[in-house]
Structures are given as structure tokens and as C-alpha cells.
């Protein structure tokens, strides 16, 4: 029995208020694909950051071929032959593909100090060809699409001919063809004896690619499994724990009322075409599809963030035009995809964030009464069970779940009738997830109309009354009742279906 090429023993990592990793042990052998499974926020990405030296573990040891090693610095990780494909891109927008691929590993030119651009471009071309990606390596990456950027990320990692390759949900942004390509690459590398740590929460991949599976939940290691002997359901059980059903528990029948939100033939400057859909009061409508299919763009165009190039957005029959603040006045609310960059003023307090959207309505005199602000925020903090010591706390100190609750709470201070949730549960632990859904249900029961964007099929299927599926900026179908199941969503969503 050979030694694992890399072994982590009871690794722990703490952040203010959160235990990101709790004594996680984990190892990988050369030539195997070790699947790292877990819900968003389970600690996968943190673990990976510890591996590549971006974070320092607060406890535990790392062994490389049996030898204890320290990874203080990304350089150390590279010296151990660890290469990482990051989920959030580690690319430099105004450098070209070749420069990005060789960032930090540039080839020196003949004249000392200078760079050998031609050689870097040649090799870059080679790797792009391997990934059958047909782009000029002189292209600046900020001009590439998401999928292409992801491919460049992959090329970057491959080009390091690493002994240990870590992939963080590499297929998240990829089309089918690209995905199959990637899988071929992985098989090839595997046969060349590269150890691969593959982070994902997509069942299909796990079973098709994995040799071994380790499941994380809430920063803890909940178990390992052999893909040949385990079933998806068991894994899901492990991933979400007992709360699997409760997370989506929906204990009411929705009575759709009048049409609240109506998009007709909507096109925006951000590349969505001819989007038509309807959301009625008292129902939850899903918007499914692969990342990059244009779901977020629909939300932005509807809310007035992106310019509408043609088509109309009707709110209770009235045409919506202009800026987001005008949409808000018409009763529209958007819970954006990214809390930190789009949802919260992180350096401001919980109170200030919660009150922000409601200011106009609560204080028509435009003078603020602090006692009232405090009441409202404390009331919401209680109602939404936001775990914060006080309303004065600055929001950046809170956990993802609580931050998300604040972003939602913001809209409960307005009289919004239509809520657009963009990935409401991304990066939130399962407990908070359940609470968020409870909130959504509450809204719907009170007659609100909800449009929910989600990448997690199970959510769409279990939560929504019906769901539109998008593909390449267009709506590829509407699924209702029993037709609303994961297979159909995938079929409609697949780029080459």
C-alpha cells in the first residue's frame, strides 16, 4: 500500500463567528480522483484554500508522501506540485491569455530581465488547443465570456503539470461539450498518475468521475464513501443531514391571483432575447438553467439595472421604466445573486442596511427617527432570527446566512409585492436555507409574487409551482406540475440538447 501523495490530518480553520473547518482529515493518492462533496458553505472551498496556501490552517498537519510539510505561502503549494482551478476567477483582466496562464511563472527571454513572450504564447496555444479552445492567446481576458475564462483557468492549472490538481466546481460555468472535454482531460491526467481533488455538488459528476468520495457538512467531515457502493440518496443524506426534506418543507397550496409581473419579448443590452414570462400573486415561479444562461440578466433587466433594448416589463399591468428606485416604488424587490458586492453596504451597520430600502416609505417627512429605526430593525432581527449581537453590528462580521436574511429583511420594510430571488441560498448552510425558504413561503402566503432563480435543481423542483428554463439567453421551456422534474430541467437547459 503506497503512501497518499497528500494527506491532511484534522485541519481546522476559524473565521470571526464561524468555524469554517472543524478537524477535517482527508487524503488523496496518485492517479485517483477524490471527490470532495458538500453543500455550498460546507467548507470545501476553505479546505482548498488551505491546500493552496491562500489560508493558513488554525490547526492540524499536512503530509506530502508521508513527510510533514508546511504550506504558508502559495509558493510552497506550487513547490509541492499542487495546482488549483479556482471557482472565482484568479485571472487578471487586462493581461492577455498567455500572460495569465504563466502569471508568476514567466519564461525569461534571451536578454536578461525580459520575457520570452513568443514561447509563452506557443505553450499557451498548445494548452488552448488541448482544451480545443480556439482563441488568440493575445486576447485580453476581460473580453472573454465566463465559460472561456473558466477554460483559461483550467489551462492555467494544467500548464503547471502538477502532481496534485485541485478543481473547485470546474464545470459550474461550462457547457456540455466543454465539460466532456474537461472530463477526458481528467482521465488522461489520472492515467499519468496525477492526483485529482475534485470539488463538486453535482451528483452526476460525482458518480461518473469519482474513485472516492468525502462529504463535508458545516465544516465537518461527515463521512467517506465509494461511488460503486453508495447511492445518490445516501450522499444527499450525508450532505444535508436529516434536514433534507425540512429544507424545502412546503405545507401550503398556493392560490395564484392576478398577474403581478409580466415580461413580454424582453431583450436587454446584456444579451437576453425575447424573454416572456408571467408571475402571479401567491405563486413561486422558478427560473432554471445553467450558469451563464442569462437568468441573472433577466432579473437585472426586469429590475431596471440593465437597459431594456426592446420588449416590456409590466407590473400589475403598468409599464415599468427607468432606474431601480422607480421599480421599487412600483413594488418590485430584488434579492441579488452576490450579497457582498450587490446586497449589502458591508461597512455599515445591520440597522442601516435593513432600513435602507424602506427609508422613503417609513419616513415620508425624509427626517429619520432613530427610535423607530431601532424598533423596526430589532423587530426584523427577531422575526428573521438574524444572529447579531445588536443592530449596531457592522454587517461584514456576520455569517453568510445572516447577511442573506438582512438582504431579504431590507425588502420587508417596503411594501413590495413582487420578489425576485437570485440564488437565494447560495453559500448558506442548510439550517439558514430552511429559514430562508420559510420566509419565501410566508411572503407567498401573504399574497406576494416570487420569481426564484436557482442552480440547485432540487430547489426549483421542490419549491416552485412552475419553472421557466433558460438556455443561451432565451427561454427554452416552461415546466409545470409533474412535468417539473430535474430530468426535464436538465434536458431544456443543456446547451446541445
Amino acid at each position: 500500500m503506497t503512501l497518499p501523495i497528500l494527506e491532511l490530518r484534522s485541519i481546522s480553520k476559524f473565521f470571526p463567528g464561524i468555524v469554517a473547518l472543524d478537524k477535517v482529515s482527508f487524503d488523496v493518492y496518485s492517479g485517483e480522483v477524490h471527490m470532495l462533496l458538500g453543500e455550498n458553505g460546507a467548507g470545501k472551498s476553505t479546505l482548498m484554500k488551505v491546500l493552496c496556501g491562500a489560508y493558513q490552517a488554525d490547526g492540524g498537519e499536512i503530509y506530502h508522501q508521508g513527510q510533514p510539510v508546511q504550506i504558508h505561502h502559495p509558493g510552497d503549494a506550487r513547490n509541492l506540485g499542487i495546482a488549483v482551478i479556482f471557482q472565482e476567477f484568479s485571472l487578471v483582466p487586462y493581461l492577455n491569455i498567455a500572460q495569465n496562464i504563466f502569471l508568476g511563472r514567466e519564461y525569461s527571454g534571451s536578454i536578461p530581465g525580459t520575457l520570452d513572450h513568443s514561447r509563452m504564447h506557443q505553450e499557451a496555444k498548445h494548452w488552448l488547443r488541448v482544451l480545443s479552445l480556439d482563441i488568440d492567446t493575445h486576447t485580453l481576458v476581460h473580453t472573454l465570456g465566463v465559460a472561456q475564462q473558466q477554460m483559461v483557468e483550467i489551462a492555467k492549472a494544467l500548464s503547471q503539470d502538477a502532481k496534485i490538481l485541485v478543481m473547485d466546481e470546474p464545470t459550474a460555468a461550462l457547457s456540455d461539450r466543454e465539460t466532456t472535454l474537461l472530463f477526458e482531460m481528467i482521465r488522461k491526467l489520472q492515467s499519468e498518475g496525477v492526483a485529482i481533488i475534485y470539488i463538486s455538488h453535482r451528483m452526476a459528476e460525482v458518480f461518473s468521475m469519482g474513485d472516492r468520495i468525502t462529504v463535508l457538512r458545516d465544516g465537518k467531515q461527515v463521512g467517506s464513501a465509494d461511488p460503486k457502493t453508495t447511492t445518490p440518496d445516501e450522499l444527499v443524506q450525508m450532505m444535508v443531514g436529516r434536514r433534507v426534506d425540512m429544507a424545502y418543507a412546503r405545507n401550503f397550496q398556493s392560490q395564484p391571483g392576478r398577474v403581478a409581473l409580466k415580461l413580454s419579448h424582453l431583450c436587454s443590452e446584456n444579451g437576453i432575447e425575447d424573454i416572456s414570462l408571467e408571475v402571479r400573486e401567491g405563486e413561486i415561479v422558478g427560473l432554471a438553467g445553467l450558469v451563464g444562461a442569462g437568468r441573472t440578466e433577466v432579473a437585472r433587466a426586469t429590475f431596471g439595472v440593465d437597459k431594456v433594448s426592446s420588449g416590456t416589463v409590466e407590473i400589475f399591468g403598468k409599464n415599468r421604466t427607468g432606474e431601480p428606485f422607480q421599480s421599487v416604488d412600483m413594488g418590485l424587490a430584488l434579492i441579488p445573486e452576490s450579497r457582498k458586492t450587490e446586497g449589502l453596504a458591508l461597512i455599515r451597520s445591520v440597522e442601516e442596511n435593513i432600513i435602507l430600502s424602506g427609508l422613503n416609505k417609513i419616513f415620508p417627512s425624509s427626517w429619520i427617527n432613530n427610535r423607530k429605526v431601532q424598533q423596526i430593525s430589532e423587530d426584523l432581527i427577531r422575526k428573521l432570527r438574524i444572529a447579531t449581537p445588536s443592530g449596531k453590528q457592522s454587517t461584514q462580521l456576520l455569517s453568510g446566512g445572516n447577511q442573506q436574511k438582512i438582504v431579504i429583511g431590507k425588502w420587508l420594510t417596503t411594501d413590495s409585492k413582487i420578489f425576485i430571488f437570485d440564488e437565494p441560498t447560495r453559500g448558506i448552510d442548510v439550517g439558514a436555507k430552511a429559514e430562508i425558504f420559510a420566509l419565501i413561503y410566508k411572503l407567498v402566503e401573504d399574497g406576494a409574487a416570487v420569481l426564484m432563480i436557482s442552480s440547485e435543481l432540487s430547489e426549483i423542483v421542490n419549491v416552485c409551482d412552475k419553472a421557466y428554463v433558460m438556455r443561451e439567453g432565451k427561454i427554452s421551456g416552461l415546466l409545470e406540475k409533474e412535468a417539473l422534474n430535474e430530468e426535464n430541467i436538465l434536458k431544456l437547459g443543456m446547451t446541445d440538447a
Binding site: G343, L356, W367, S394
Partner: protein
């Protein structure tokens, strides 16, 4: 865990404010030991009066900083508004008209800056810099190297008059401090301005009319400059093209020393007041100690870096 952090934060905010006042106090104590001329009612009033000119310019600037912007044209604005007001007053002989024209001029300039920043999406730094040159050019052109002087006593009052033994500019400063603090703390506009500075995108997605608030901020900054120019005018009893220019960088420095962040979303009017006080005290001290003027810029520079450093230091310690 978080509890502990919060306590730390709150306490540090106290510390933070406390530290600023402490600096002022320390400077005062030091000076009063160095010369008996310092700690006299007269000199303290004198310091406050000098600080008030700086504060008036800096207060509008503070709002701009809160939105992560900057207004380099504030000095040129003061110069132009002063000249406009002076011309109107001397030609029409009406103080009221002069008053209005001065503030009006500042307001127009503010609108100009606002349009450049919101409508045309220019970075405020460069937009207001271009504005600075244009304003100077116009002012020089119309003033043609002359100075206008000799204004009505009634008008001079706001600059050099006394009320109950206290110079009028100090009252104006206090008024601005109060109004400014109320506006930033207790009006929804203030709240929205903080949000815009802290995270413009989030503010926009939360239904804040971002462009309108930016506009508002530059207009207010312009108006304050306009009003400051009137006080300058009344104080100096004469108008010339570069009347305010020498105070542009000090005003910016005052805002920064006052703990307002360049990146927006953090800062208070009171902080700016303290910033203005610190700067004025340093110059006053050097004058009454008759220290060589060559060292003034040095001391100021060091104080800027130090105070901002300590500020960040405390804020970081609070874990945020």
C-alpha cells in the same frame, strides 16, 4: 465571539473619536506651556475663527468624500463665487443680491461637477480638476488682475463682526456643523449618501437613486463653497481670483485627518471640524512661537499621515 468583537468595535469607535479630541487637547496643552500667549480667550477665539474658514470649505467636501468622490475645484469655486458676489455687490450696491449671486455661483459650479460625475460618468478627481482650470481661467479673465474691495458694514459683519464678544464666523461654523451633522445623521438623504459611498451597486439595487444623491452632494459642496466665499469676502474685505486656492489642499487634509474615508461610507462632520482645528492650531502655534514658516508644511504632512494611520489602526483592531 461576535459579542466580544462588537464591544471592541464600539469601544474603539469611542477611542477613535476620543483619540482625535485628545490630539487637539494635547496640542493645546503643549502650546500653553510653550507660550502664555496661547491659552487666552482672544487667541482661542482667534483660532476658532481661522478654523471656521477652513471648516466651511471642508464641510461640503466631507459630503463628497462620503460618496467616495473628491472635489478639487472647491478652492477655485470659492475664488470665482467671491469675485461674482463682489462684482454684483459693488455694481448693484445690494448686499442681498451679492449674497444670492455668491451662493448661486457656487451652486451652478456644483451642478456642473455633478453633471460631469453622474451624467457623463467621469471620475470625480479628474472632472473637478478640469473644472478647477476652467473656473480659474474665467475668474482671471473677468478680474483681469484687479481686486475689488470696500463692502458694506452690514455685509462685513458675517466675516469680521462680533456677537456677544464672539466672532460671527464661529457662529456660522457652528451652524454648519449642526446642520451638516443633522443632515448626515437624521435625514434619509444622509443615510442614502452613506450607502452610496459604502457600496454604490448595493445602494442602487436597494432602490437608492444613486445619481440624484451624487448630484445632491456636489450641489451642496458647491453651495457651501459659495457661502464660504462670502465669509472670506466679508473677512478680507476684498476679492481676488485666487482667494481660496491656498486652502484647497488644507481643506482636503482636514477632511482626511477628521477620519473620513477616501473610499466613502465612513466619516462625520464633527471629525472634519476636529481636522480643521488640528491644522489651524499647528499654524497658530508656529506663528505665535514665531517658528520659521519653512517647517509648516512638514508638520502638516506628518500629522496627516499619522492621524489617518492611527484611525485605520483602531478601525482594523475592531476586526472590521
Amino acid at each position: 465571539m461576535t459579542n466580544l468583537l462588537v464591544e471592541l468595535k464600539n469601544s474603539s469607535q469611542l477611542k477613535n473619536l476620543f483619540f482625535r479630541i485628545l490630539v487637539v487637547v494635547l496640542i493645546c496643552i503643549a502650546l500653553s506651556f510653550l507660550t502664555e500667549a496661547f491659552f487666552t480667550t482672544n487667541n482661542l477665539l482667534n483660532v476658532l475663527r481661522q478654523a471656521s474658514l477652513l471648516f466651511l470649505m471642508a464641510s461640503g467636501l466631507t459630503l463628497v468624500f462620503l460618496t467616495a468622490g473628491i472635489d478639487l475645484s472647491v478652492g477655485a469655486n470659492v475664488g470665482m463665487s467671491a469675485c461674482v458676489a463682489a462684482v454684483v455687490m459693488t455694481t448693484t450696491g445690494s448686499t442681498a443680491l451679492g449674497f444670492l449671486s455668491g451662493i448661486g455661483c457656487g451652486l451652478l459650479i456644483g451642478i456642473g461637477n455633478g453633471l460631469l460625475v453622474t451624467l457623463l460618468r467621469l471620475p470625480s478627481f479628474i472632472a473637478t480638476y478640469g473644472m478647477l482650470w476652467i473656473l480659474h481661467g474665467l475668474t482671471y479673465y473677468f478680474m483681469a488682475g484687479t481686486t475689488i474691495n470696500g463692502f458694506e458694514k452690514s455685509f462685513r459683519f458675517i466675516g469680521s463682526g462680533y456677537l456677544y464678544g464672539v466672532p460671527v464666523p464661529i457662529y456660522i461654523m457652528t451652524l454648519f456643523l449642526i446642520l451638516g451633522s443633522i443632515f448626515t445623521k437624521y435625514s434619509i438623504y444622509g443615510q442614502q449618501i452613506y450607502a452610496v459611498g459604502a457600496n454604490p451597486l448595493a445602494a442602487r439595487l436597494s432602490g437608492v437613486p444613486v445619481n440624484r444623491r451624487l448630484m445632491l452632494v456636489y450641489v451642496l459642496s458647491g453651495m457651501t463653497a459659495g457661502l464660504a466665499s462670502l465669509v472670506f469676502l466679508a473677512r478680507l474685505n476684498s476679492a481676488e481670483g485666487d482667494i481660496g486656492e491656498s486652502l484647497t489642499l488644507p481643506a482636503i487634509a482636514a477632511v482626511l485627518i477628521g477620519g473620513t474615508s477616501l473610499f466613502g461610507g465612513i466619516g462625520t462632520m464633527f471629525g472634519t471640524l476636529i481636522g480643521a482645528l488640528i491644522l489651524t492650531l499647528v499654524l497658530n502655534g508656529m506663528n505665535i512661537l514665531t517658528i520659521d514658516g519653512n517647517y509648516q508644511a512638514l508638520v502638516t504632512g506628518v500629522i496627516i499621515i499619522l492621524s489617518v494611520f492611527l484611525d485605520l489602526f483602531f478601525r482594523r483592531k475592531s476586526g472590521s
